[in-house]
């Protein structure tokens, strides 16, 4: 695996949200999925920044939906994980699990 292939933590969250959501993954649902699971506010522009990076790396692909009135006539951009993206998510998860095996006590935590 090359250094370019590594996923950042937020990129991994976005990619996993897309995998969870399946066909319904677009900006709003992805952000809400991450907010619901992490209980943190998510800046919408950050989601798109991560999505652009993931698309550049070939981990997701996108397509435009139909424009709707509640969106001011703007189309949704739907995202789908590629096979390469799914493999990368799994590989990152394994790498993180290995690194977390028996770590020393972190500052502020009791061992």
């Amino acid at each position: 695996m090359t250094a370019r292939g590594y996923l950042g933590s937020f990129e991994l969250m976005v990619l996993l949200a897309i995998i969870h959501l399946g066909d319904a993954a677009y900006g709003v649902t992805i952000a809400r999925e991450i907010e619901a699971r992490t209980r943190r506010d998510v800046v919408r522009r950050s989601v798109y920044a991560a999505l652009d990076r993931l698309q550049d790396k070939g981990y997701v692909r996108s397509r435009l939906g139909a424009p709707t009135p509640e969106r001011g006539g703007r189309a949704k951009r739907y995202f789908q994980a590629t096979a390469h993206g799914s493999r990368e998510a799994r590989s990152t998860q394994q790498a993180l699990s290995t690194l977390w095996l028996g770590p020393p006590a972190l500052e502020g935590e009791t061992a």
Binding site: R44, R71, K76
Partner: protein, 290 residues
């Protein structure tokens, strides 16, 4: 079903200052209609605008680099006197020439390069003169015929002719400068304005130098225009102005009638800018932009 309106100013700012991202704008609107507060909407919009700044900078990087190249070229060229010209003697004459209003203003439009006979002595002015004359002729013809003149030649041919006419005008003006320098000659404070005896060698060298540099500026201005960065001729013109303006203002204020001179200077710059604003639609038509 009607939706409550999203904060207009925020939406307007997002459209103007955000980097085109229609799906994101739609997402924000959808969530606002789903019950998000105006504060939430504003926060998302402002964060988006801030995060888009680097993307805007990347987009305008080429334009910024070209602008820097232009100003740098003028700044460097302003210190290079044309071959065969005696810079010291010219400096003595400069004070006298500066006091002649019309000359001083035309000189300003070349970034002060004309009075010092630098390699950019004529700047982009011959090209602008031809463009302006072309615009006036076209305007008069359309007035006389009460309709736009039929286009007998394509934009490429018109541009080519504009270029040739500008180069011809440049050669004529450069010859006039060479002859003028020879005539002043005889001396200014005991120094000759030209470093060596005049004659065809000096004239041809000066004409070739000034025509080549103006040709280079015309090429650069057309590169700027065809790359869609802006109207190249006006950018080159204003780059010369930016480099020459501080010196021109200082020199004008140093004269006894400094305030009146400054007024004249400001009105000349305003008039030239206005003229370019008038010529601009013609240029846009030529390039098929409107």
């Amino acid at each position: 079903m009607t939706h409550r309106a999203a904060p207009r100013l925020a939406s307007w700012l997002l459209k103007r200052l955000g980097y085109e991202n229609e799906p994101l704008a739609g997402d924000l609107l959808e969530e606002f209609h789903d019950g998000r507060t105006a504060i939430w909407y504003w926060r998302q919009v402002m964060t988006t605008i801030l995060m888009d700044v680097p993307q805007h900078m990347r987009t305008y990087r080429t334009a910024g680099l070209l602008a820097l190249l232009l100003v740098g070229a003028f700044w460097l060229g302003s210190s290079l006197t044309a071959p065969g010209v005696n810079a010291d003697a010219l400096a003595t004459l400069l004070a006298r020439a500066q006091s002649e209003g019309g000359f001083a203003r035309y000189n300003l439009f070349t970034g002060g390069n004309l009075s010092r006979v630098t390699i950019f002595a004529l700047g982009i002015m011959p090209y602008l003169t031809v463009l302006t004359v072309g615009w006036v002729v076209g305007f008069m013809r359309s007035l006389l015929r009460h309709a736009p003149p039929p286009s007998a030649v394509g934009p490429d041919r018109i541009l080519a002719w504009t270029r040739y006419a500008a180069m011809l005008l440049c050669a004529v003006q450069a010859t006039a400068i060479a002859l003028w320098l020879e005539r002043q000659a005889a001396s200014v404070g005991g120094l000759s304005l030209i470093g060596e005896p005049g004659g065809w060698g000096f004239r041809i060298t000066l004409v070739l130098t000034l025509t080549a540099t103006t040709g280079g500026l015309i090429w650069l201005s057309e590169q700027i225009t065809t790359r869609g960065i802006g109207w190249g001729a006006s950018l080159v013109f204003f780059a010369a102005l930016v480099v020459g303006l501080p010196g021109a203002v200082t020199a004008t204020l140093a004269q006894p009638e400094g305030a009146a001179g400054l007024q004249g200077l400001v009105s000349s710059v305003a008039a030239m800018s206005g003229l370019m604003w008038l010529v601009e639609p013609g240029r846009r038509r030529l390039y098929g932009l409107i």
